[in-house]
Structures are given as structure tokens and as C-alpha cells.
Symmetry: C2
Subunit: 206 residues, 2 copies
DNA sequence: AGGATAAAATGACCACGGTCAATACAAAAT
DNA sequence: ATTTTGTATTGACCGTGGTCATTTTATCCT
């Protein structure tokens, strides 16, 4: 096997797959936060150093595992169509909100990796964030929402508000349900065709 | 001295002050990320355990130090008045944006502590975030902005967009200047009195 | 087959945040 | 002054992420 000029042995792929698989198992049992590198390597039957030959650091593994789950959720979201209103929109974000707030640790990792760390080493989580924008954009495009702002901008705003709601009310109402109401408030103001206010200034974007 | 039923010796306050002072010095010299607890206690002339008798963990010290700086910046922002337009608004957020993006590590700490960690152990950074909302709200209230949405909501949105811009473009254009343009785009869509779009649906908030 | 070469795996080791039973110290009670 | 009580400090110790010189293993070459 030969990837990018560097020869990769079959063994390598097997080891990496085993590390990932064992990590998944441990996470399913104990959650993300409790994952220890030592446990993973013991379960995979390799030495500690081997782990770091396959992943830059523990966070790189997390990036991959969490990114994979986000991707699965996005696959489902991709199939949703016919958003009728804000409530609908928020409801379909539900699974994403639920997963992102399933553990404080998970939310922190996601935030830390949602932007590209260094130029162009864009990881799995950052990729899903870009994809999320696309999904939101297509939802908005086919829904009864304002048209005076580019769809891409609207989509990025939805993401921004979602993060805001999750970050500020993380513990207040831990169930993801508690996030829906405030998020709907924001999105109503952000997405709906505006009702012109009394004082009709005619400002424009700079 | 007696705080909350617990007697606090003068010695305690002196030690804590010394820890904070030495930490500040080290940070001024090497930045936040490079701060090591061992260095702080050595400089302060106390044992390691003493540090943790005064701060729950290293992050608690960071929360305090970063919170203090944010507070200073907010003091200055509080004095600003007469926001004429979006560009103005973003310009006056400048110092805050600059500080929050001065180090990747600082931004991460701020995000992690911007929401209350557990109910009602709201720390310095979380406090400044609440204060930030108030400042934005008063700016918006006296500016040429939309009135069809409560000022508080608008202010929270400004914060959300600011975080979004910082998170997504952290390295892309590291100078805080690069943040202004995208932020202005978002805020124009968020804050300005809307120009009714062609298709005038008359949706309302759910 | 038997080297030669490069990739992969190893595990002792380090850095650093954090803990805790033991000790030193200050203040109050006698 | 001495004892008592509770606060503040200590430093050896631990857990865990991460490193790297060395060793093992695969692949290629003749």
C-alpha cells in the first residue's frame, strides 16, 4: 500500500482500526470524558507509544470519533425536507443539539475543534461544521424565511445561535429540550421576514 | 477577618495576593498558555499544595485573571456612546475581540467558562459575559437599529456572532482586524431595520 | 536464502496538574 | 502560660498525556 509517497503496511491499518474500535467500545460503556489512552492501548494490545504513532494526541482521536458521530447525525438531517416554520427547524436540529450537549467534555472538544486549528489541517469536526452550514442553508432555502440576506449568512447565523444557546444554558436546563425554546426565540428574530418597525430608517449594510 | 462564618487569617489574603501577583508577572512575560503552576508557587515562595488551597484548579486562577482583564476592557467600553452604525459598533468591540483572540488558549478558556459551569457558581468570566450583554444592549438601544426585537435579544445575538466569527476564523486571519469585516456583515443582517423582501409572507414568532 | 533499508512498535521516561496525611501556625479558651 | 481548636502550609506522591532512543518486523534487493 502506498499513500502520498509513503509506504503504509497493512499492519498499520489493522492496528489503527483496533485502536478506534476499542476506544468506541470504552466510550459506549463509560462515556467520552472517562476515556483513558492507557485503557485504549491495553484493550488494543499495543504499547502506549503506538497510540501516538497513529494519533497526534488524545484530542485527535476524539476529533475523529466525535466527528464520525456528528457525521451520522448530519446524514439523517440531510434527508429532512419541508421545513414549515421555526419550530420545525429547531425540532430537526434536535439530535444534533442532544449529542453536542450529552457531555460537557464533548461540547468543549467540539467547540475547540469546530474552527480550523491551523490553516488547512481541517479535521473531522471542523468538516462537519462546514457541512452543517450546508444543511441549514438548504433547509432555509426551501422554507418560508427571509430572502433579503444570503442563505449562507443565515445558515451561519443559525449555527452561531445554536452554539450560543448551548454554551450559555449548558447546565441550567440540562435536557436538550430546554434549549429549544430560547433557540426558537433567536431564530424567529433572525430568519423570519421582518415586520417593518415604526421608525423606518433606511440603513444599508456598509 | 470573618467571611461566611469561616475565619480567614490575614496571612491567607497575603499569600493569595502574592500568588496572583506573581502569576500576572509571569503572564506578562510569557503569555497565558505558558503559565505553569510550579513556576507560580516558586515565584511566590510557597509549596504547590498551597496553590490548590487557594484555587480549585489552575483554570480557576485563569478564570480570575482573564476575567479581570475582560472587566477592564468592559469598563472602557461602558464609556463609549453615540454608536452611529454597524461599523462603529464593531470598531468599539475591537479591544474585546483583540484580547479574546490574543492566544488560542485564552479563547478556549473564555469559551469554556463563559457559561455557568454549575448552577450559581458563576465565575469572573461568566460575569463579564453577562455584563457584555448589558453593554451591547445599551449601545443598541441608543443607536439606529431595529426595534421589532427586544434589545436584550439583539445584544445576545451580537455576542453570538462575535464568538462565531472568532471561532471560525481564528487562524485564517489572525490579526483581529480580519474579524471586523465578517462581523459587520452578520451584524448588518441582524441589527438593521429590515428591507421587506419581495415575497411578503407574514409569519410570526411561534 | 541472506542481507539492506525503511516502517512500526516498544516501554522506560518526562512534564505537569492535582491530592492528602502530616505539620506548623494563629487565635481563642483556660 | 498552657492547652485547645481550627486554619494555613507543606511536600512526597499519584494519574495521565505525551516523548524518543531502541528494538522488532515487514518489504525490497541481489
Amino acid at each position: 500500500m502506498n499513500i502520498m509517497g509513503r509506504i503504509v503496511q497493512k499492519r498499520t491499518l489493522e492496528t489503527r482500526a483496533r485502536l478506534v474500535a476499542e476506544a468506541e467500545k470504552l466510550i459506549d460503556r463509560n462515556g467520552f470524558e472517562a476515556l483513558r489512552v492507557e485503557d485504549v492501548v491495553r484493550a488494543a494490545g499495543v504499547a502506549k507509544g503506538t497510540f501516538f504513532a497513529h494519533f497526534r494526541d488524545k484530542d485527535a482521536l476524539m476529533d475523529r470519533l466525535i466527528g464520525a458521530r456528528l457525521d451520522t447525525i448530519l446524514d439523517a438531517m440531510d434527508l429532512e425536507t419541508g421545513i414549515r416554520d421555526i419550530r420545525d427547524l429547531v425540532a430537526r436540529m434536535g439530535p444534533m443539539l442532544t449529542f453536542m450537549t450529552c457531555e460537557r467534555y464533548v461540547f468543549d472538544v467540539i467547540l475547540r475543534y469546530s474552527g480550523a486549528a491551523a490553516q488547512e489541517d481541517i479535521g473531522p469536526i471542523a468538516t462537519t461544521f462546514a457541512r452543517q452550514i450546508d444543511v441549514f442553508a438548504s433547509w432555509i432555502e426551501h422554507g418560508p424565511f427571509r430572502r433579503d440576506v444570503p442563505v449562507a449568512i443565515l445558515a451561519e447565523g443559525v449555527q452561531a445561535f445554536a452554539v450560543q444557546v448551548m454554551a450559555l444554558r449548558f447546565c441550567a436546563l440540562h435536557a436538550a429540550q430546554g434549549l429549544h425554546a430560547p433557540l426558537e426565540t433567536y431564530l424567529a428574530a433572525w430568519l423570519l421576514p421582518p415586520q417593518p418597525s415604526a421608525r423606518s430608517s433606511r440603513n444599508t449594510a456598509p
